[in-house]
């Protein structure tokens, strides 16, 4: 166990950091805890930002997270971590302050991948959506009822933003280089269902299409985008939804193994140095942690899921408090997204799936549950407005049960194995 003279620093004051700090305390850590956050805000919840906040149902600054457990801690908010010196166990902040640590939790998360042309990215009306200030700015622009919104990228954020625009009755085009929206996560088969859903609510979906350049009106405000087929479309607001980049630059001199895809961890949750040795004073959690998932043959994954930030934050807090490795972190990945009135929920990871069955319901009716398999095992299940059955499939996935799942559900017939059809190349 740790003792009261120790100092634990949590770098990153969002969901994973907050739950990690609470978990440290709950697991009996009696020393000082300091949370360092680059944003000036107390930890807040992000999922509403791309939904309720854009639609104006909830103010952007209203989503401060509740504490789940009492947390006696010190806070350094509005100042990012600049560098980590593991030899002397010193964290340096952007304002030059140095903090000595005995335990460190890396939970710096990720940021939106910016539009690659930095000049165009600075045009007024061009947005990314990741944090509270982004949501405030985008909400303000949408509330001004722009003539046409362009969403670049058909991932979850892009899809949710497009759906929110339709809920606001704004014309919106979703441009996606892949065959359908969400094809990278769900495959083309279910991606087509998502595409139809968006077309149904009035989103103009342009798949197999890239945006090549953005143009401004001469005063610096975006007006138009040129597509890779040479045509151009009007765009008074542009939302760049090209995924995320992990916040790892501050680890440059740390000797840890990291890149823009995350910082590497071992199965227990400790971070690894460039030689692959764990540092037992440092754990990582949330979007930034790239860890070997036991359910997926030890393949390293970094998951941008809300539930994962909570579960891995709690795991890392316990790990640091107990100062010895316990059970490997094996939480089943899960996420949700609501768009166009439909709620998509998933357990497991679809990546690498070689088969897909519609286990229940009917995609045409808008309510169904699909199961993904790989090499004869269930690896993921995705429900569209069918969430109450999901726990049964989560059990099968966690148990590595055989794929396809047994037929015999009350609302299914014979199960046909379909190709999930993931796009050949990740973007």
């Amino acid at each position: 166990m740790t003792d009261a003279s120790e100092h634990a620093i949590v770098v990153g004051a969002s969901l994973a950091g907050l739950r990690g700090a609470e978990s440290l305390r709950r697991a009996g850590f009696t020393g000082r805890i300091t949370l360092v956050g680059s944003e000036a805000h107390a930890p807040y919840d992000r999922p509403p930002l791309s939904k309720h906040v854009l639609m104006g149902h909830v103010p952007a600054d209203a989503t401060t997270l509740p504490n789940l457990h009492p947390l006696d801690a010190e806070w350094r908010l509005g100042v990012a971590a600049r560098s980590l010196n593991r030899r002397d166990r010193i964290l340096t902040l952007a304002d030059g302050e140095t903090l000595a640590y005995d335990r460190l939790l890396i939970a710096t998360g990720a940021r939106a991948r910016p539009w690659p042309d930095t000049a165009q990215a600075r045009f007024a009306g061009v947005h990314t959506l990741r944090d509270r200030d982004d949501a405030t700015a985008l909400h303000r622009d949408l509330a001004a009822r722009p003539g046409h919104v362009l969403v670049i990228g058909g991932g979850f954020i892009g899809c949710e933003v497009a759906a929110a625009c339709r809920a606001l009755d704004l014309p919106v085009t979703l441009v996606e280089p892949g065959p359908t929206p969400l094809a990278r996560v769900l495959g083309e088969h279910l991606g087509a269902v998502v595409g139809a859903l968006h077309a149904g609510i009035g989103v103009t979906v342009r798949s197999h299409t890239r945006v090549e350049a953005l143009y401004n009106d001469g005063t610096g405000r975006v007006v138009r985008a040129r597509l890779d087929n040479g045509s151009s479309i009007a765009a008074s607001v542009v939302v760049v939804a090209l995924g995320a980049v992990r916040n790892t630059e501050w680890l440059d001199a740390s000797g840890l193994a990291f890149d823009e895809g995350g910082v590497d961890c071992d199965a227990a949750g400790y971070v690894l140095d460039t030689e692959g040795r764990p540092d037992r004073r440092i754990a990582a959690a949330g979007d930034v942690a790239r860890f070997p998932h036991p359910l997926y043959g030890g393949r390293r994954v970094a998951l941008e899921h809300w539930g994962h930030a909570v579960a891995q934050g709690e795991h890392a807090g316990r790990l640091l408090a107990e100062a010895e490795p316990g059970e490997p972190y094996a939480e089943l990945p899960a996420f949700w997204s609501s768009q166009g009135g439909i709620t998509i929920k998933s357990v497991g990871l679809t990546e690498g799936a070689d088969g897909l069955v519609i286990a229940q319901g009917d995609p045409k009716a808008g309510r169904f549950l699909a199961v993904y398999g790989r090499e004869g095992r269930c690896i993921a299940a995705v429900s569209f407005d069918c969430a109450r059955w999901l726990p049964a499939y989560a059990e099968r996935i966690a148990a590595g049960a055989s794929f396809p799942p047994p037929a015999g559900a009350s609302d299914s017939g014979a199960l046909t194995i379909l190709p999930p059809s993931f796009p050949a190349e990740p973007r």
Binding site: A359, Q360, G361, A365, R367, R388, W389, L390, P391, A392, E395, P406, A407, G408, A409, S410, D411, S412
Partner: protein, 414 residues
């Protein structure tokens, strides 16, 4: 192998007052085969897993005998004949998706927040009246004087059943509620007795629904009769009748147990009686704990559609299944000190209202009714003492609760 007669003992009236020791023995095997061929799930995990398993069916009829739903035309022509032949009065608690979902959506569409909250206010008034009626007395039967009349009045008002017709339902409702007892499902005599009662009550409901169609009012039956809603069609007449009867029976036979079990539990935990009196805002958590500790619906029956491997056993297809909700609620793996009544428990995922697709439709109403009843009683009943401990119980083992709950009291305050 555990004692395969445990579930028969649960059904035995001699064990009605306290089945919980039997449940504890059943939990030694999460899913166990009983001598009558029934599989009983008794741990929280096993019940939770089966509730969410799509291969578990609520249907009581084989597929070939099931009439289809959602087709008003065939309702008029073919269905009446088939329904009578197949004894298929099947409200949606005995149905699977997609029919179940369609019927339930129509009910939820009418079970509006506004109606439920209006009934919460109404429950306060009714409880006040019922207690005031007994003001001069030194004895009160919680069941007959309050726990039964309250939900019955509420459900009739909500559905739009005229108050003067209400007394006719008492016996019918008691009879039909036996459909939830496992032995009724396998007993031809009991089934046909239920069928006859169903015919009688159907005739009444058919007439009432025709009346609602002609002269709609602001009530659930009028709303259901008027048509469909977002994503679901209008119910056919026979589905409408079955649905109306289901809600009526549910209103008669479940909340009564919640309230009576609640009073009994509070009297056995007098400290909680006092705390609720001093802090009425404690009611919601107290009622939630009650739903765990002594739920009105102790178990529900299902059948397997396919082979299911669970907790070390393999249940064959077509097997009758009992989900022993009340046993799961006392599972020490989930609820520390499960036999202690403790409203301050946190994170309680009790199974008192079931779970998954068939989660109790009336749950919000039941909570409000119980709150109205319990908070008023702890405030107004003076020095209540149990006359019979344990009290006499009603016949049902699935819908379980006292038949009478007589209290000696010093009086009833205003």
């Amino acid at each position: 192998m555990s004692d395969p007669t445990l579930f028969a003992q649960v059904k035995d009236a001699a064990n009605r007052a306290d089945p919980y020791p039997l449940y504890a023995r059943l939990r030694e095997n999460p899913v166990s085969l009983q001598e009558d061929g029934t599989w009983v799930a008794s741990t929280h995990a096993a019940i939770g897993s089966l509730l969410h398993d799509p291969r578990v069916s609520s249907e009581t009829l084989p597929p070939a005998d099931r009439p289809r739903t959602g087709n008003p035309f065939s309702d008029w022509v073919v269905k009446p004949i088939r329904d009578r032949i197949t004894d298929a009065h099947r409200p949606f608690i005995f149905r699977d998706p997609p029919d179940h979902d369609t019927l339930r959506a129509a009910v939820m569409h009418q079970f509006t927040q506004a109606r439920v909250h209006e009934m919460h206010r109404r429950a306060d008034t009714l409880v006040a009246e019922l207690l005031t009626k007994k003001r001069g007395d030194h004895e009160i039967d919680i069941v007959c004087d309050l726990a039964y009349p309250l939900p019955v009045t509420i459900i009739c008002e909500m559905l739009g059943v005229p108050a003067e017709d209400e007394p006719r339902f008492h016996e019918w409702a008691t009879q039909l509620a036996t459909a939830l007892e496992p032995d009724t499902l396998t007993d031809t005599e009991k089934r046909s007795e239920n069928s006859r009662t169903f015919e009688t009550i159907s005739d009444y409901m058919g007439g009432l629904i025709a009346e609602k169609r002609k002269h709609p009012k602001d009530d659930m039956l009028s709303g259901l009769a008027a048509g469909g809603g977002p994503g679901f069609p209008a119910m056919g007449t026979y589905d409408l009748i079955a649905t109306a009867i289901l809600m009526l029976v549910a209103g008669h036979e479940t909340t009564v147990n919640l309230i009576a079990n609640g009073v009994l539990t509070l009297l056995r935990n007098p400290d909680e009686w006092r705390r609720l009196r001093d802090e009425p805002a404690r009611a919601p958590r107290l009622i939630e704990e009650l739903l765990r500790y002594d739920p009105p619906v102790q178990f529900r029956t299902r059948a397997t559609l396919a082979e299911i491997a669970i907790a070390g056993v393999t249940i064959p297809p077509g097997a009758p299944l009992v989900l022993l909700l009340a046993a799961g609620n006392r599972d020490p793996a989930v609820f520390p000190e499960p036999d202690r009544f403790d409203p301050d428990r946190t994170g309680s995922r009790h199974l008192g209202f079931g779970g998954s697709l068939h989660y109790c439709v009336g749950a919000p109403l039941a909570r409000f009714e119980a709150e109205a009843a319990l908070t008023a009683m702890v405030r107004r009943l003076q020095k209540p003492r149990l006359i019979d401990n344990p009290p006499p119980y009603r016949a049902g083992s699935a819908l379980r609760g006292p038949k009478h709950l007589r209290l000696a009291i010093d009086g009833i305050t205003d």
